[in-house]
C-alpha cells in the first residue's frame, strides 16, 4: 500500500496538472487541439456503436411509455401547421415586396451569404455547457466563429472544428454574446400591450456595451390613379400623399444566461428612445465588422423589460425564436467576422 506522502503527492500532482492544462488551453495550444482531434476520431466509432446498440432499446421503451404523448403532440403539430399556413402566405408576400423594393432602390440584400446544411448529432453532455455537435467540419469549409442558424433564427456559433464534425456554442450559453438590434416603429404598439415593469432594487449593470440609436424616416407613398374612380374622366394629375413612418433601431449586446433562460439585451443609458422598445419587438443581429454574425439574422422577440433603479439601464429579456432544446437540422452561414458580404 502507499504511504500518506505518496497519496498527498498524487493529489497534489492531479491538482497542479489540472491547473497547468487549464492555463495552457485557455491561451490556445496546438498540441492540446491535436489531442482533442485524435480523441474525437477515436470517440466517433464508439459513439456510433453505442447509438446502434441503444437505439432499438430506446425506441421500444418510447413505444411503450410515450405513445399517447406522441399522438397528442402529433395532433397539436397538425393544428399548428394549419394555423401557420396563413402566416406563411403573408410572409412570402412580404418577402417578395421586400425584394422588389431592394431591386427598385438598387440595394443589395443585407443577408446574402452561402450556407452549409448540417445535422445535429449530439447534445452537450454536461449541465454547465450549452453546446451541440453537428456533422459538418473543416472539409465542408466550416471555420471557428461562423454563425449557425435554423429555420427560425440564430442558433449559435462554431467554437471547435474537426474534419468531419464541429461544436456549436448555443446563443443561451453565458459565454456567448452578439451585437443585436431591435427594430421597432413608433406606431408599433407591441403584441402584449403595456410593458410589464419589474423593478430590481440596487441591481447594477457591469456591461461595457455601447448603445446606438438610429432613427430612419421612411416615406410611405400611396398613389391614386385618376382612372380608379368611377364617373367622368378628367385630366387631373395623380394625387400623391406621403406619411412618415418612423423606424427606430436600438443596438446593444445580447448575452446568454445559461440553461433555458432567455437572453439579456444590455443597454448602457436609458435614453428616451428606449421607450420605443416594446415587448414583442423583433431582435436580429446588428452585424458590423466586429460582429460575429452578419446583419439581419433573426434572433428572437422581446418578452420582458426589467427596469432598474438608479442610473442603470433597463434589462431587456429576449426569447430565442429557435427551439434550442429540439434542434435537428441547422445551417452554418459561411461568414467570418470582419468580412464584407459576397
Amino acid at each position: 500500500m502507499f504511504s500518506a506522502l505518496s497519496r498527498r503527492r498524487v493529489v497534489a500532482l492531479v491538482v497542479l496538472t489540472c491547473l497547468l492544462f487549464i492555463t495552457l488551453d485557455r491561451n490556445g495550444n496546438p498540441v492540446i487541439d491535436r489531442v482533442r482531434g485524435v480523441l474525437a476520431t477515436v470517440l466517433q466509432p464508439v459513439d456510433t456503436a453505442t447509438r446502434a446498440i441503444t437505439l432499438p432499446l430506446e425506441r421500444v421503451w418510447y413505444g411503450i411509455s410515450n405513445y399517447d404523448d406522441v399522438e397528442r403532440e402529433n395532433q397539436a403539430l397538425r393544428d399548428q401547421i394549419e394555423h401557420q399556413k396563413g402566416n406563411d402566405v403573408e410572409a412570402r408576400s412580404a418577402i417578395l415586396e421586400y425584394r422588389l423594393l431592394l431591386k427598385v432602390q438598387q440595394l443589395a440584400s443585407k443577408f446574402n451569404y452561402p450556407t452549409v446544411p448540417a445535422l445535429v448529432i449530439g447534445d452537450s453532455p454536461g449541465n454547465f455547457q450549452n453546446t451541440v455537435e453537428i456533422n459538418v467540419g473543416s472539409t465542408d469549409g466550416i471555420q471557428v466563429g461562423m454563425p449557425v442558424t435554423n429555420g427560425a433564427g440564430l442558433v449559435g456559433r462554431i467554437t471547435r472544428v474537426y474534419p468531419t464534425h464541429s461544436l456549436v456554442k448555443l446563443i443561451t450559453d453565458p459565454g456567448y454574446s452578439v451585437p443585436a438590434q431591435v427594430l421597432s416603429s413608433a406606431d408599433d404598439e407591441g403584441i402584449t400591450g403595456p410593458l410589464p415593469e419589474i423593478p430590481i432594487g440596487g441591481a447594477t449593470s457591469s456591461s461595457t456595451s455601447s448603445t446606438t440609436t438610429t432613427t430612419t424616416t421612411v416615406p410611405v407613398t400611396s398613389t391614386t390613379q385618376p382612372g380608379d374612380t368611377a364617373g367622368p374622366t378628367t385630366s387631373t394629375p395623380p394625387a400623391t400623399t406621403t406619411t412618415a413612418l418612423e423606424v427606430v433601431r436600438e443596438t446593444g449586446l445580447l448575452e446568454g444566461q445559461g440553461g433555458n433562460k432567455p437572453m439579456l439585451l444590455r443597454f448602457v443609458d436609458s435614453s428616451s428612445s428606449l421607450a420605443n422598445v416594446k415587448v414583442g419587438s423583433i431582435v436580429d443581429t446588428a452585424g458590423g465588422t466586429k460582429g460575429l454574425a452578419p446583419q439581419g439574422i433573426p434572433i428572437g422577440v422581446i418578452t420582458r423589460i426589467v427596469s432598474q433603479s438608479g442610473d442603470s439601464a433597463d434589462l431587456v429579456e429576449v426569447t430565442p425564436n429557435a427551439s434550442l432544446r429540439q434542434l435537428n437540422f441547422v445551417a452554418v452561414v459561411l461568414y467570418v467576422s470582419g468580412t464584407v458580404g459576397p
Partner: protein, 174 residues
C-alpha cells in the same frame, strides 16, 4: 507510485470511453427536470468509494480529462472537478476499509455533489462566469442522488477499473 498511476490507465481509458459515449448518446438526450444525469461522474465517485481517495482522484482526473477533451470546456476544468469528487467519495476509506453498500452510496452522493458543484466554481475561476446561479439548487441534488443510486451498480466496475480487489474476511483459526 508510477505503477499505481499507470497500471489502472489500461482499464480506465476503455471503460472511460464507453462511459463517455453512453453519457453523450443516452444521458445527454434524456434530461430529468432539465438536468442531465452524469454517468461519468457517477463512475468516478463509485471508483473513489471502492478504492479510496487517491484512486478516486486519479479516476476523476483521467475521466475528467476525457470529458474535457471531447467537449468544449478548457482541458483540466472537469478533470479538477471530478478529481475533487472522487477524492471526497474516497474519504470513506478513512473510516472503514470494507464499507457497506449504503455507506458507499452515501459517500458517492457527497462526492458527486462536490464534483458537480466544483464545475461552475472552477469555470468561474478560469474566467467563464455566469454558471453560478440558483439552478445549482436543482442540478446538484439530482446529479448527486442519481450518482448515489447508481453507486452499488457501478462500484464493481470502478473497483475493476482501478485494479482494487475486495477484501475477504477469514475466520481466525485457534
Amino acid at each position: 507510485m508510477r505503477g499505481f498511476v499507470l497500471a489502472p490507465l489500461i482499464r480506465l481509458l476503455p471503460v472511460g470511453l464507453v462511459a463517455l459515449s453512453l453519457q453523450r448518446v443516452i444521458f445527454a438526450n434524456h434530461p430529468m427536470h432539465d438536468v442531465q444525469i452524469q454517468l461519468v461522474l457517477a463512475l468516478v465517485v463509485a471508483a473513489g468509494a471502492g478504492g479510496g481517495l487517491d484512486r478516486g482522484a486519479i479516476a476523476g482526473f483521467v475521466l475528467g480529462m476525457l470529458s474535457d477533451a471531447s467537449g468544449d470546456t478548457p482541458l483540466g476544468v472537469l478533470a479538477l472537478a471530478y478529481g475533487l469528487g472522487g477524492l471526497t467519495a474516497g474519504y470513506l476509506h478513512r473510516f472503514t476499509t470494507d464499507p457497506q453498500w449504503w455507506l458507499a452510496a452515501l459517500f458517492a452522493t457527497m462526492g458527486a455533489a462536490v464534483g458537480e458543484t466544483a464545475i461552475p466554481v472552477v469555470k468561474t475561476l478560469t474566467g467563464d462566469s455566469g454558471w453560478i446561479t440558483t439552478d445549482l439548487l436543482v442540478t446538484v441534488p439530482i446529479v448527486a442522488v442519481t450518482a448515489g443510486l447508481m453507486c452499488p451498480l457501478l462500484m464493481p466496475v470502478g473497483r475493476w477499473m482501478m485494479g482494487v480487489k475486495r477484501k475477504k474476511w477469514k475466520a481466525m483459526t485457534e
